[in-house]
């Protein structure tokens, strides 16, 4: 169990700055997520910590120990890969025992710890099975057990859920979070899925073009995005010029769709806007609709389902918005 310090880390591939001077301090036992679109450098940064990618500059420490100069196999890291990377030539128990054998743990203890790790991921009794007999979700559990059983200083997750179907993704992410918290191992998790990041993380580092865009708790980044990119990547938003809301200033503002309501459903003190309904989607729990304002700009609205509400394309509506939830972007 240890904190991680990343200092001035950079890496260039050809002319692309994959990681461009990143500084981060990750606390002991923290669940930290690197979030961003593909090509933002999050995977490169993770692979630097794992030892599969070299640094051009900077250093990485676990606690006070510098690790970026160590060979990957001596770093004491548990890594979970996107495609599971379960060894097909070994049975489940052999996979989980692999790292313990590399550490020359006694046979009796290996057997004990393998069974313990398998029950931890709810695969007790699966030791004799072969990887090709398992489902995707089970394979990922094997991969997690294999990473946990060596009691690593740090756990790394490289988009571990992206090959699973949507329902399984939601239940597995909760499980991963619970496991990590109960064991207290510092974890770094890479994903491009904003919702997944928000559900598992203590803190998120939002990355773009090799740089950190914003670092903070999930809700904080969502509610107070520091940039236009952060506002748009963390869920849906309306990016508006201030004059649309009758405000002054040159900067853009961000207004989340759920900060808008229909006139009848809004508190009296909220400012009003009027326009014409351009598009309606009733998704079940929420209804999304677009409203074209008088000046031609389009505003996206999201609100919980109301049994008696009728919304038709072309209808004239009045919207109200929560002034407290308007974010001014730099």
């Amino acid at each position: 169990m240890t904190g991680i310090v990343i200092e001035g880390v950079a890496r260039t591939f050809g002319t692309v700055r994959a990681v461009d001077g990143v500084n981060l301090t990750i606390g002991e036992g923290e669940f930290f997520t690197l979030l961003g679109p593909s090509g933002c450098g999050k995977t490169t940064l993770l692979r630097m910590i794992a030892g599969f990618c070299d640094l051009d500059a900077g250093q990485i420490r676990f606690g006070t120990k510098r690790i970026d100069t160590l060979p990957a196999h001596t770093r004491d890291i548990g890594m979970v890969f996107q495609n599971y990377a379960v060894f097909p030539n070994l049975a489940v128990a052999g996979n989980v025992a692999y790292g313990l054998k590399a550490r020359k743990v006694s046979a009796a203890e290996v057997a004990h710890r393998v069974e313990e790790a398998l029950s931890l991921v709810q695969l007790g009794g699966y030791g004799e099975r072969w990887p090709h007999q398992l489902s995707g979700g089970q394979l990922q559990r094997v991969a997690i057990a294999r990473a946990l059983v060596i009691r690593p200083q740090v756990l790394l997750f490289d988009e571990p859920l992206s090959n699973l179907d949507a329902r399984l993704r939601v239940s597995m992410r909760a499980e991963i979070r619970e496991l990590q918290k109960s064991l207290g191992i510092t974890a770094i998790y890479v994903t491009h899925d904003q919702e997944e990041a928000m559900s598992v993380s203590d803190r998120i580092a939002l990355m773009q073009s090799g740089k950190l865009e914003q670092v903070g708790a999930p809700a904080e980044i969502y509610r107070n995005p520091a940039s236009r990119f952060a506002a748009e990547f963390m869920g849906t938003t309306n990016l508006l010029e201030p004059k649309v809301l009758g405000l002054s200033g040159a900067a853009m503002i961000s207004l989340r769709p759920e900060a808008l309501r229909l006139d009848a459903e809004a508190p009296a003190g909220w400012p009003r806007l009027s326009g014409v309904v351009a598009h309606v989607e009733i998704l079940g729990p929420i209804t999304r609709f677009d409203v074209r304002l008088g000046d031609g700009s389009l505003i996206r609205v999201a609100s919980l389902d109301e049994p008696h509400r009728t919304l038709a394309t072309g209808a004239q509506v009045t919207l109200a918005y929560d002034r407290a939830r308007v974010t001014v972007l730099p």
Partner: protein, 551 residues
């Protein structure tokens, strides 16, 4: 500034260094010596182009170039003409016994082609069994010596090079592409000609180029069948053996020209074919077409005829080896005298063949598999250079490499001539391209994250190679080993240059018997060679079958 090598690149770089060392010493150095022999005078002292002028000035050698190229082009065309309909029938038509056809069609690739050529002589030559039988009925036919016979043997022994990739190509065409053509108004026949066939063309050409290169390099087939017709690889050998000057300048010239021709072909292949892969991403093989009974019968007869015709010569040799020979003349009586004559003098040639093939196959595996690892895993220009270098032996005729070996290792600090290792090393170098190709094919299928998982769990890259990659590659490595072993056992072109005294192999015995007119011993050696080839292949098939049934 201190040059530091990143940890994860140390193992591949170390292997690459060893690979460069081996290929530098046993490929580039001999080839360089062949080249320098060609540009030095007879005493090996003065630089000169006179050798080239002399050789190319003689109509005999210009004829050799023309003959070799002509035979190569025609044989390539005939193999394509034979194989493409065959491949289509196997991929898309209802032909009974496909699994058997495919298994039998692969056999000529591992059986020695000069044995087939010799069988053709015994059957259709001047004193051939079939020729005499036909003569007794008053029927005659043209000579099978010269270009016609050589092209016939090449077609019968090399057609799998085109058949197998083309069949795979036809199977990889997504049906929806043909359906799209038909829905746009093409008849099924037009769709085949305008859509399916063009997609398969790169596979056909790739196979055809392999055939062409094989014909340029082949020594045994023209040696048996060419008679007075000058053929490149044979003339290079004759020049080298006959050259009395200390510097084999004339043989060097022919060697360099031969390498130039094959490299040119390979270069064309890389330049024009490498990027022309029309992957259509077929999820399943296209369906077998519904055709009339007539076409179905015709296709069945065609496929079985080609497969069996190609194997008839080998079968005939085995039968003939149990007949009585008096000198080169055959008498139709059963006899084991040929085998008695072959083995009574010595069983050494057989033992040598088995030993050399085993040692060289081990060498090829130990060098080829790690090189394939570097080529697939190291992202660096170095890996690309190593890849080209490891493919180079493919462009070098066995005769030429062997000449280079003799020139390089008959004096100086490393003397190998006259011993067994020079043969083992030459075989190893010759077969490395096949090991690297097949192993890198397997490695491309293995996700690199498996290695990373192993490393991050605490195994060093070297341990990871041994514990994860080798077990995963084992099936492929074993089949590669057997195929290498088998092709080395019947290697002739380098062997005839390199053998000496007690280190004769079965192919040398056959070669000498052919030169001396001892038909009996030649057939006995040939059928022994066929058995030596088929036994490991049969074992491999059984092993694979058992493995497939088990999993």
């Amino acid at each position: 500034m201190i040059l530091t090598i990143p940890h994860q690149q140390r193992l591949p770089l170390a292997i690459a260094a060893l690979g460069f060392l081996f290929l530098g010493l046993f490929l580039l150095y001999p080839l360089f010596n062949v080249f320098s022999a060609s540009v030095l005078d007879g005493e090996g002292e003065k630089f000169t182009f006179a050798n080239y002028v002399k050789i190319l000035g003689r109509p005999f050698y210009r004829g050799a170039v023309a003959n070799t190229l002509m035979i190569g082009v025609v044989a390539t065309l005939t193999t394509i003409v034979v194989s493409v309909p065959f491949a289509f029938a196997l991929a898309r038509l209802p032909v009974p016994g496909k699994a058997a056809i495919i298994a039998l069609a692969a056999m000529p690739l591992v059986l020695p082609s000069f044995v087939s050529a010799y069988a053709i002589v015994l059957l259709l030559g001047r004193a051939g069994v079939v020729t005499q039988w036909l003569n007794s009925w008053g029927i005659g036919f043209g000579s099978i010596y010269g270009a016609g016979g050589i092209i016939l043997v090449y077609t019968l022994t090399l057609y799998p090079y085109v058949l197998l990739p083309t069949m795979a190509g036809f199977k990889a065409v997504d049906v929806s592409i043909e359906e799209a053509a038909q829905s746009l108004g093409s008849s099924p026949r037009r769709a085949l000609w305008t859509v399916t066939l063009p997609i398969v063309v790169p596979s056909i050409l790739a196979g055809g180029l392999l055939v062409f290169i094989e014909t340029l390099e082949n020594f045994g087939v023209p040696f048996v069948l060419a008679e007075d017709m000058p053929i490149f690889a044979v003339e290079a050998f004759k020049l080298f053996v006959g050259e009395t000057a200390p510097n084999p300048s004339s043989a060097g010239v022919l060697g360099v020209l031969l390498i130039l021709m094959t490299s040119l072909v390979l270069l064309i292949q890389r330049r024009f074919l490498a990027n022309r892969r029309f992957a259509t991403g077929a999820r399943s093989a296209p369906p077998i077409l519904k055709v009339g009974l007539g076409l179905r019968i015709a296709a069945t007869i065609y496929c079985w005829s080609v497969v069996l015709l190609a194997l008839v010569p080998f079968f005939a040799i085995v039968v003939l080896s149990f007949m009585e020979f008096r000198g080169p003349v055959l008498h139709p009586n059963f006899s084991t005298a040929n085998f008695a004559a072959l083995f009574e003098r010595s069983t050494r040639p057989l033992l040598n063949t088995l030993m050399f093939a085993t040692l060289a196959a081990i060498g090829v595996t130990l060098i080829g598999v790690p090189i394939a690892y570097v080529v697939t895993r190291l992202r660096s220009g170095l890996a690309a250079v190593l890849d080209v270098l490891a493919t180079l032996p493919f462009a070098v005729a066995g005769t030429v490499l062997a000449i280079g070996f003799v020139v390089s290792f008959n004096s100086g600090w490393l003397i190998l001539t006259g011993g067994p290792f020079i043969m083992v090393l030459a075989y190893t170098v010759r077969k490395i391209p096949f090991a690297v190709r097949s192993s890198s094919g397997i490695l491309h299928q293995i996700d690199p994250s498996l290695e990373e998982a192993s490393i991050s769990l605490g195994r060093s890259p070297l341990q990871t190679f041994g514990r994860i990659l080798v077990p995963l590659m084992l099936g492929g490595i074993m089949s590669g080993f057997v195929l290498t072993w088998v092709t080395i056992a019947s290697e002739l072109s380098a062997t005839v240059v390199l053998y000496s005294g007690q280190w004769r192999t079965l192919t040398v015995v056959m070669f000498q018997a052919l030169e001396g007119g001892g038909g009996g011993i030649a057939t006995a050696a040939a059928s022994t060679l066929i058995v030596v080839t088929l036994v490991p292949i049969a074992l491999l098939y059984r092993l694979i079958r058992r493995y497939e049934l088990a999993s």
